[in-house]
């Protein structure tokens, strides 16, 4: 992850968040979060009782009421702070993006002339010319020329990338800089709608919409709030029948303790932080829904080249032919590659190193390097001692040897056919008139991919590899990488067909792509990640864009999606499980004065009824800021089967959720009881 953005938590973010916590007290804003809104209303009612004790006839209890008011106020503020903090981090990311969005001038092509205009005046369809050193004024597509562009402003990757007209590398992003040459660009977005603009509004959380799962969870939390509202409101008349008078602040305390304030206060922070984590990975999600959907992915479609393999053919084996020994074959293969700078050539030397076989570098000193040419299909070196060393396509080398009067080892064609049938490419190695053997070149699976697919399988995700290779080659790579399925000789339509087939079975499909060809499939997939280096069409069709253009990141995105859902579930479970202890704190406290036998239910042996209520309330408030780091970072996620994952999280958040407040409330009570 070269360009991973650092998650920033500076003093200014905290300061802003503190200020926002108060601004968010506005009831109109609060209403969007029913759980916390109920707390706010309760706070207000208690405030009235503190301010007008005579009217409410609460003269003797003003001190207690004031304390309850303060704790309730802080409960709301803590929840607001959590949300503001998450938003603040998003904003900080957006600010760093905004810096790249400084206004620039543009050289607009008007008829035959070039007019200098402000970049904000550019509209869709305008054509501009950008030369070396200039900023590209808006999102667009190169229609003429070739240039290297520095995209570090959005990707954090300092090495410039090549952009050229036509093909899959034609899209450019506003705010990036041309570092060499000159291109003609047609602008593809109006001001305010450019890629960067959308990114900024998304990470800022301005255009954040609640995701489907968040809405469903909110329904549940609201329902629980209503249920406890019924419980508390009906409790007063029922208790009154027994002659137990319950004060309003006590009832409000009970209500606030029972409703799921922990998850209610942290829910939006979890959502924002989830988006933020995706952004930290340099992936831009167009919606929170897409991040959530990525947690549900059943099938992943991955391109072979670039994602699973390096895409270069690498030497994997030396195979002697005829009378030659392995050492000889390897030796001459190395010599032929000594000055060969192609990936294939370098891979031969690497293979030598890996197999710890030696070769004498000095032999090449003064020799002439013969470059690979399409006509000869060979490369090699002419040594100073007059020997000619060559490696290349088998039939080309065979011709070359025959033309010098050499003979061909009888087992050569059988061995080279064997390599080809495994999906590899054979290269023959020859010195003058004798062929020493073959180099087996093959597409190499990136290190760690096999383990990753293994993890995906543990998560229940099926992987399908798409490749243009023939079925034999594809099968070999598929087996080596450990993917579950592959499509050989695949055309872009095949991807859509596979996606549709999987979706018809109810599966959610994720894929990556960069070309214009991929656009329909990206749109069809439930999670489509376009590479930032890809075409505008691909980016438009996708619901995420990877700024680093690293297709294997799809796997991390899935993990983030899962983490987001897990965090929500874990904190909800924790929040509900907390109620057990809170009941044991408050219920005996409420009735103990009128019914002394209730002391039996005071299992925590809390100091006094008042301190018990305050302790439960303080725990309820303090747990919110304590859990902010968890909400921001997300529950730790390791790929494992759902059964193990569930029992692990249930132990921590379910059982922990029952036990933790018993300890917490008791501890707080030990302190609070010093006063009351």
């Amino acid at each position: 992850m070269s360009g991973q953005r650092k998650s920033m938590l500076t003093g200014s973010i905290v300061k802003h968040a503190l200020k926002d916590s108060f601004i968010k007290l506005n009831p109109v804003v609060m209403m969007k979060n029913p759980v916390m809104f109920v707390v706010e209303v309760g706070t207000f009612v208690v405030l009235l009782m503190v301010l007008f004790p005579a009217y409410f006839n609460t003269g003797g209890r003003t001190g207690f009421n004031l304390t309850v008011f303060l704790i309730l106020l802080f409960t709301v503020l803590f929840a607001n702070f959590a949300e503001a903090l998450a938003e603040g981090r998003g904003k900080a990311q957006a600010d760093s993006l905004k810096k790249s969005k400084k206004e620039t001038t543009a050289n607009k092509v008007v008829g035959a002339d070039i007019k200098v205009v402000n970049s904000t005046e550019l509209r869709k369809g305008d054509i501009v010319i950008v030369s070396q050193g200039e900023m590209i004024p808006g999102d667009g597509e190169v229609i003429e020329g070739l240039a290297s562009v520095d995209e570090s402003a959005i990707t954090g990757e300092s090495a410039p990338v090549i952009k050229e007209a036509g093909g899959d590398f034609s899209s450019v992003t506003g705010g990036t800089r041309v570092v060499s040459d000159r291109i003609k660009v047609v602008i593809t977005s109006d001001p305010g709608e450019s890629f960067i603009d959308r990114m900024i509004s998304l990470v800022e959380g301005a255009s954040r919409q609640k995701t489907p799962n968040e809405i469903a969870l909110n329904t549940l939390l609201t329902t629980l709030t209503l249920i406890f509202l019924i419980v508390v409101v009906t409790l007063a008349p029922i208790a009154k029948y027994l002659g137990v008078a319950l004060d309003v602040p006590v009832l409000i305390s009970l209500l606030v303790c029972l409703i799921p304030t922990t998850i209610g206060g942290l829910l939006s922070a979890i959502g924002i932080a989830g988006m933020d984590r995706v952004t930290q990975f340099n992936v831009l999600a167009m919606s929170g829904k897409a991040v959530e959907a990525s947690g549900d992915i059943n099938t992943m479609i991955l391109d072979k080249t670039g994602t699973i393999t390096y895409g270069n053919r690498m030497a994997s084996q030396f195979i002697p032919a005829g009378d030659a020994s392995l050492t000889e074959t390897a030796y001459w293969a190395a010599v032929s590659s000594l000055k060969d700078e192609t990936p294939e050539g370098r891979s031969v030397l690497e293979l030598m190193k890996k197999q710890s076989m030696g070769y004498d570098e000095s032999i090449a000193a003064g020799g002439d390097f013969i470059e690979f040419k399409a006509e000869t299909r060979m490369s090699g070196i002419d040594l100073q001692d007059g020997r000619h060393v060559r490696k290349g396509a088998v039939d080309a080398v065979r011709q070359w040897v025959l033309s010098q009067g050499g003979s061909i080892p009888s087992d050569l064609s059988a061995k080279s056919d064997a390599i080809a049938s495994e999906g590899g490419t054979p290269l023959a190695v020859a010195v003058d008139s004798s062929i020493y053997g073959l180099i087996h070149l093959k597409d190499t699976v990136k290190p760690g991919m096999k383990e990753r697919f293994e993890q995906l399988r543990e998560m229940g995700i099926k992987t399908i590899m798409c490749t243009g290779d023939n079925p034999l080659t594809a099968a070999t790579i598929a087996r080596e990488a450990g993917v579950d399925e592959f499509i050989a000789e695949s055309k872009p339509e095949d991807k859509i067909a596979v996606i549709r087939r999987e979706q018809a079975e109810g599966k959610l499909v994720a894929m990556t792509g960069d070309g214009t060809n991929d656009a329909p499939a990206l749109a069809q997939a439930d999670v489509g990640i376009a590479m930032n280096s890809g075409t505008v069409a691909a980016k438009e069709a996708a619901n995420m864009v990877d700024l680093d253009s690293d297709p294997s990141k799809l796997i991390e995105v899935v993990a983030i999606g899962k983490q987001l859902l897990m965090t929500r579930g874990a904190l909800t479970t924790f929040s509900i499980a907390n109620d057990v202890a809170k009941y044991f704190a408050i219920i005996p406290a409420m009735f103990m004065v009128a019914i002394p036998q209730m002391q039996a239910l005071n299992v925590m042996h809390l100091g006094s009824p008042l301190s018990a209520i305050l302790s439960a309330l303080i725990f309820n408030a303090v747990i919110i800021p304590l859990l902010i780091p968890l909400a921001m970072k997300g529950v730790k996620y390791k790929p494992m089967s759902s059964a193990r994952l569930l029992s692990r999280n249930l132990m921590i958040f379910g059982l922990g959720g029952v036990i933790a407040p018993f300890a917490g409330i008791k501890l707080i009570d030990l302190i609070v009881h010093l006063w009351i």
Binding site: V231, I461, L508, K562, G569, A570
Partner: protein
């Protein structure tokens, strides 16, 4: 000996679950089977009579509407019968017409499978009323509840194709299940000397010279469906404690099994429909765990008796026998009480009002949860609702959108579940609170303080859960109680049924998600634990404060 008696009944139940569950599955799977030959012709005739030509599957809305429309017609006819029964035939004891608010309460009570009785059968109901209204509704309300559960099961296990045809299901529930079973149980009960006659009450001169009227009537036929249909309304005021309704321990066991078996078999039926029997057993186990916990609470609490009586120096080694029949003893009474409130039957063989505080807490709590086996169908549907809730909360913890049986639980389902889960505490706690704010409510209480609180709470809980048993000290035949409990019964029955059928309808339209290793599996022991936890955390915590003020405070102040 006590424990052995209880164990034998439970073992017999366990043996019955699989065959009965399979039978119910075959009745409603609509696949051809052997029983078609026996019942097919009768059903065909019935379909012809009611003009049911088109037996196509219905959407959830149509299914619910058909059920409600049918129930409304039955309610209307029954109301007229009760109001006019003084002049109707088969009335040898010359019972008069029933008062309006009591008639309202009674028809609602029987149509909703509650069988809360604010009248006394001996004096308030003619034989015609007993047969045409009471016994008829015992069949139809049980069938209504059962087919709702079947429709719900179809919805959550099948993809598309609606929930089935209400009228066909309704007929089949009678012809293949309730009528034949009721016939068998009636004959067995008659064999065990439960009366079945249309003769008037017997008047005898006692040895002491007094004249005694012994109430009689078609008792056995009512008794059988009373339990098979988890109805619970007694022929006599004291219900199954009456020696004609429940003369001996064997009839007691038969009655327990009659009310328990079909409810307990539904999870297995569900497993058959879901093609995952283990899933059915897990849900059954969760119910059984809760049941055993409540049974133990009642049994040990009754067995240890009342400490105040003990303090008076009275031998209480046999436990608290107040309000219990000597022929049943503590064990058979505790078991009956726990089963009748679990299966929400509401028949009683001992007086719940006189149970010890914690012994009375168990039946109250079972009705508050309304998921421990539950009444005909409804309890099962409620349990699945908790299963969906459990899946929703815990399913998130595996990092996926929660799924139940391969269907995603989303906002729409949560909203419908919200209605069902809100309704239950609302219709219990709100009227209970209101009853304490007016003398109309408090006047009826025959006990002060905590026990008085329990009386009112029990009445509304029993109504909301459509159970029908009562803390019978309550003087409940007043307009206030007749109307309030009538409304609670109505809402308790239909709100959750409609909402949960909506859930089933919505789930059946969803594309199922294939199961993988990453899926949250619901057919595991772990999920059984989650289910029990969800029921206790969400269901029970709601009622804890009021339980603390009622039975728990009574217990604490008594010891």
């Amino acid at each position: 000996m006590d424990i052995l008696q209880i164990c034998i009944v439970i073992v017999v139940l366990l043996l019955l679950v699989k065959p009965v569950g399979s039978y119910v599955y075959h009745v409603f799977s609509n696949e051809e089977n052997r029983t078609d030959k026996i019942f097919g012709p009768v059903e065909k005739l019935l379909y012809q009579i009611i003009g049911l030509k088109n037996r196509s599957s219905m959407s959830w809305k149509k299914y619910a509407l058909s059920m409600i429309a049918t129930n409304i017609i039955l309610v209307a006819v029954s109301y007229l019968v009760l109001r006019l029964m003084g002049g109707l035939p088969v009335n040898p004891n010359q019972t008069g017409n029933m008062e309006a608010s009591l008639s309202f309460n009674t028809v609602i009570s029987f149509m909703t499978n509650t069988n809360l009785q604010h009248y006394s059968g001996e004096s308030g109901m003619s034989y015609f009323g007993q047969m045409i209204v009471i016994t008829m509704m015992m069949f139809t309300s049980a069938a209504s509840g059962l087919v709702i559960a079947i429709a719900f099961i179809r919805g959550v296990t099948r993809r598309g194709g609606g929930l089935g045809n209400f009228f066909e299901d309704f007929v089949k529930a009678h012809t293949r299940l309730f009528l034949p079973l009721a016939l068998i149980v009636t004959l067995v009960l008659v064999g065990l000397q439960v009366p079945q006659t249309l003769d008037p009450n017997v008047t005898v001169n006692t040895l002491g010279g007094a004249v005694q009227h012994i109430a009689m009537g078609p008792v056995a036929s009512l008794e059988s469906i009373k339990h098979l249909g988890t109805n619970g309304g007694g022929f006599f005021g004291v219900n199954s404690a009456h020696p004609f309704e429940n003369p001996r321990p064997l009839t007691n066991v038969i009655e327990i099994l009659s009310m328990w078996t079909i409810s307990a078999s539904l999870p297995y039926t569900f497993g058959r429909f879901a093609k995952n029997r283990k899933q059915g057993w897990i849900i059954f186990s969760a119910m059984m765990v809760l049941f055993l916990a409540f049974l133990s609470l009642t049994y040990f609490s009754e067995k240890s008796g009342n400490p105040l009586i003990h303090d008076l120096g009275i031998n209480s080694t046999q436990g608290s026998m107040e309000g219990k029949e000597v022929r049943f003893g503590v064990a058979q009474s505790a078991l009956f009480t726990t089963v009748t409130t679990a299966a929400t039957t509401g028949s009683v063989n001992n007086m719940h009002d006189t149970l010890t505080p914690l012994g009375g807490l168990a039946p109250l709590a079972e009705m508050m949860l309304n998921v421990v086996f539950g009444g005909k169908g409804v309890g099962f549907v409620n349990m699945i609702m908790y299963a969906i809730l459990g899946v929703f909360i815990c399913g998130l913890m595996v990092g996926r959108t929660p799924e139940f049986l391969g269907r995603k639980i989303e906002s729409r389902e949560m909203k419908l579940i919200a209605i069902a889960i809100l309704a239950h505490p609302l219709i219990i706690l709100a009227p209970t609170a209101i009853s304490f704010m007016t003398h109309l409510g408090t006047d009826a209480l025959s006990n002060p303080m905590y026990h008085g609180l329990s009386q009112s709470l029990y009445e509304f809980t029993s109504s909301a859960a459509n159970n029908g048993s009562g803390f019978e000290g309550l003087g409940d035949n007043t307009v206030f109680w007749n109307v309030s409990t009538g409304l609670v019964m109505l809402l308790g029955r239909y709100v959750s049924i409609i909402a949960l059928l909506g859930v089933a309808g919505s789930l059946s339209r969803k594309q199922p998600v294939p199961e993988t290793i990453g899926t949250f599996h619901t057919d595991t022991k772990l999920f059984g634990g989650i289910l029990v936890g969800t029921v206790l955390l969400i269901g029970a915590l709601t009622f804890l404060p009021v339980l603390v003020l009622g039975p728990i405070a009574e217990y604490l102040t008594l010891r």
